[in-house]
Amino acid sequence: MLQTRRTVTFGLAAALGAALLKPLSALAAWNQGAFQAKSALDGMKALGITNAQDSGDIVIRAPDIAENGAVVPMDITSNIPGTTSISVFIEKNPFPYTGTFEFAAGAVPFVHLRAKIGESTPVRVVVAAGGKFYTTAKEVKVTIGGCGG
């Protein structure tokens, strides 16, 4: 009984949440499989990303050497026409898939985010545009710091 009620309540909340959040095409549900993948490649597989082509039209602005791995700022811009989403993979993190950002109704394919980076790593970005995937990567180093600043 309790079980059922909880399910119902949860179901309702989820439905309400879904209505409120109005997810865009691909983001029907938070992709647990992709987020729990231990490699960028497995994460991409779970997201259905295949055959991504290297592209010079994706710009990642991130530090060459991050002052603090707990907060690494990045600006990611796609200059590929028809861009619908930007996905980020921090390859050497325990769970590399960091997120997907979707753009609609006039949103410019750009996002600023700040991520935790455990050790020096390539940051790989995959852009979806016109049903195809494009990719580039940037190496970010993480250093050992001093005291409290």
Binding site: T50, I65, I144, G145, C147
Partner: protein, 272 residues
Amino acid sequence: MRQALVLGFVAVFAAGPWPQAAAQTEDEVNAEFEKFRAVLEQDNPAELWEVKGEELWKTPRGPKNASLEKCDLGLGPGMVKGAYVQMPRYFADVDRVMDAEARIVHCMITLQGFTYAELAKAPFSSATRTPDPVSIVTYVAAQSAGMKLAPSQSHPKEKEAYTLGKEIFNFRGGPWDFSCASCHGLEGKKRIRTQLLPNFANPATAIAAVQAWPGYRMTGGVMHSLQWRLSDCFRQQRLPKPDYASETLSLLLTYLTVNASGHVYKGPGIKR
């Protein structure tokens, strides 16, 4: 086919080399840090506590159900704008010099009825809790953003605070013989690991002691004030622990802030 595509991806991954990090020399590394420090400052989570601090300042709270709008930060009751850059300063009601957070704590005790013991019990932020005085001092500091540091040195006790603060800054003790000056009294752009050590005894560089505090610390993702920073310095000096909002810390802050006089204070910042 699918397999081939996935393999193709592996090839792309393995192909490397990744664009080599261009920054190499110390100066280039520091320039890189500075560039992205500016990016981080543009949207600083410290603003979240500034908002919270303003609410705490204006809301009646504590056993006496009073707001802090009668708190005198040196410019008269309730005057917040520009108060932070003129502290530490002498307050006749306590007959001593107080820094901003010490004064806020004093007001919370006298106006709102909180006790020192409860405020000093866990005075520093953790991942899950930011003490009220930290949020309030963040709000107060933000109301002085863009103003020049001008702590008063007209009262004899303010002058005395400077000389005593200087002694505390230079006091060598503990098992490692450290003083504040061991790290922060050195000329020549010295570093601990990769962290630059500005000389706080030199008026040209002393601004670094107080600039960007209160600050959002990236390590741990917490809001910290100068009270925390000084306490942590003494921990790293391997000395015992200074009392929260104590006179000793106000004296030390007087020395540091007077040395930084004339420099523009940019408001709550972001720290490593």
